[in-house]
């Protein structure tokens, strides 16, 4: 492989592919694993909408989410959307080290959307299991049960019934506990 090298991961826990990119005349030579693709690109809307011709197959591609810092993307094509992340090789190695250090064993329950807290389903200090509901949040006339992603103890409950919360607000913290 020659050119700039990247590691691409599909989805949250999908497989990782090695990809290299280099300019070749007016086109790009992009190698994914063993396969080389010649790609011609025009930008229809900067960082948003692209027309790609891969070989001679034509695709209209939406860059739906672009986080240049973390390399996370959501890309749409042919009526489907897919999440993936791109790192250059050096960054990828550095991140693996910090990720291991950050294994703190704390789960923060965050509001996935703005809404109103209906009630808590567990009390602070209580043991909770992974998948167990902690808080009921109402949004758009629907009640949604938000669950713990850890087996452990509910250390803090940070909201009360009737409280309006924004997306991303921390509602509760669960600390991992050994059996």
């Amino acid at each position: 492989m020659s050119g700039a090298r990247y590691l691409v991961r599909l989805g949250a826990e999908g497989e990782t592919k090695e990809v290299s990119v280099e300019a070749r005349g007016a086109r790009w030579a992009i190698t994914v694993g063993e396969a080389e693709h010649l790609v011609e690109q025009i930008v229809l809307e900067k960082d948003e909408l692209l027309s790609l011709i891969v070989g001679d197959h034509s695709y209209l591609v939406d860059l739906i989410e672009t986080d240049w810092e973390s390399g996370r993307f959501v890309v749409g094509a042919i009526g489907e959307q897919i999440a993936l992340s791109v790192r250059d090789e050096l960054e990828a190695v550095a991140e693996q080290v910090t990720a291991a250090a950050r294994q703190s064993g704390i789960f923060e329950l965050r509001a996935p959307m703005p809404g109103i807290v209906v009630r808590a389903l567990a009390a602070a200090g209580e043991r909770v299991a992974r998948g167990q509901g902690l808080v009921i949040l109402e949004a758009m006339k629907m009640q949604n049960e938000l669950a713990s992603e850890l087996d452990g103890r509910l250390r803090e409950l940070l909201v009360e019934p009737g409280q309006l919360v924004e997306t991303g607000a921390v509602l509760a913290r669960v600390v991992q506990e050994a059996e």
């Binding site: 592919k17 990119v21 790609l52 042919i78 009526g79 489907e80 897919i82 993936l84 959307m113 758009m140």
Partner: protein, 507 residues
Amino acid sequence: MPPLRKVLVANRGEIAMRVMRTARKLGIATVAVYSEPDRQAPHVFFADQALPLGGTSSAETYLRIDKLVEAARRAGADAVHPGYGFLSENPAFAEALSEAGVVFVGPPASAMAAMGNKLRARALMLAAGVRVIPGSEGAVSDPKEAARLAKAIGFPVMLKAAAGGGGKGMRVVRSADQLAAALNATREEAGKAFADESVFVEKYIDRPRHIEIQVMADAHGHCIHLGERECSIQRRHQKVVEESPSPFVTPAMREAMGAMAVQAAQAVGYEGAGTVEFIADAERNFYFLEMNTRLQVEHPVTELITGLDLVGLQFQVAAGEPLPLTQAQVARRGWAMEFRIYAEDPERGFLPSTGKIQRLRAPAGPGVRHDSGIYEKYEVPVYYDPLLSKLVISGEDRADTIARARQAFQEFVIAGIKTNIPFHQWLLRQPRFAAGDFDTHFIDEHFRSEEINHDPRVPAVAVLAAVLAYHQHARRLNFDEAAARDGQPSRWRHTARREAVARRGQA
């Protein structure tokens, strides 16, 4: 009665737009009302006049009879169209408007009241000879009485808390020996949940299909039906996909259901557009469920196969005109399917999703209709129903319609919030759906969120696009950083500035 001149639409979202389109077509001026968060909603821009209701929640705005009547008076509207939901089936709203001298585009308050109470409606329908689900006529507490009834009805039976609803306080009993215990448990549960231990016994339909008949009646005693809609693709009693005709209904069944629906409507002195809902079993026995005394969300599928404008007919009937066609003149052609586009995430248990619609590209082409209440950069508010729009597809026959729908969804892009578009694409790939072989349990029994992403070209193209974008972005940054390090302005910016200076020099 003079023709209508100005209509206030007491609703929001796609249905407000839909109603206003027909009003405009007929030369009727349009008035929108809006809550504070809906100042940015498209129905407000679309109308000729727009009046604020003040307040945020539905209870403070679209459900306030006093505010809506006052708005109609202030705007000088001679009619109010309620859309669906909100006050559309509220007899008190119709009465308040009538007292204010404003036409309610809907049935008489008495017809709404009669159909609005499930028990009363059932008794009325029985008396009118409409087939209802066999069951007890009153609450049952004695296990012996329950056993006698269940035997007469035939197992399986359903025990249903009288005060229950939305799937709560219900229990299926498949044989006589389970009955007494189930009755006790249901009564206890009902007492706890609803403070009312009354329980009904009725026939349980094992593989139910939800099929409904559109009716239309005028003030001169004419009532016709416009055929059926198949609404069995539902989740949590919420319809998701509807079609007409139903792949399950035979011509004889259609005729019998249509006649029974007309009978039901006439029994309550119905006027305007209404829908009689039936539940059908695998042997094509069908039973009256309830009547929706308003325009339905899924009315477009009937419009596409009959060629009629149902909102237009509603206005004509409300203005006192007779129906412009007889039952024999109702023509039906081809097939139509409606896909409700909800702001919800099918990959995470259909959790509602709110936020800004960053991108919207609706499909187009033959047989594609998009009834929408959104636009690009629209912020979806958290306060109301999650229905964003409806994609309605028509074709020569069912297979043609499915093929068109698949194609349309390939073109459909909504980004910024999650929608159930991937669910629809999944559904359109299911062989059982294509074969018309489904019932109301289909989604619960068959949907798997991990089957959503399907086309192997998508990850392949996404990898190329994302790597290329990332690579070019990194190069752009590096170029700027390198230039900054050398104490030089970026060459890009430098060039741009020189050109700007040159242009200014020429001016």
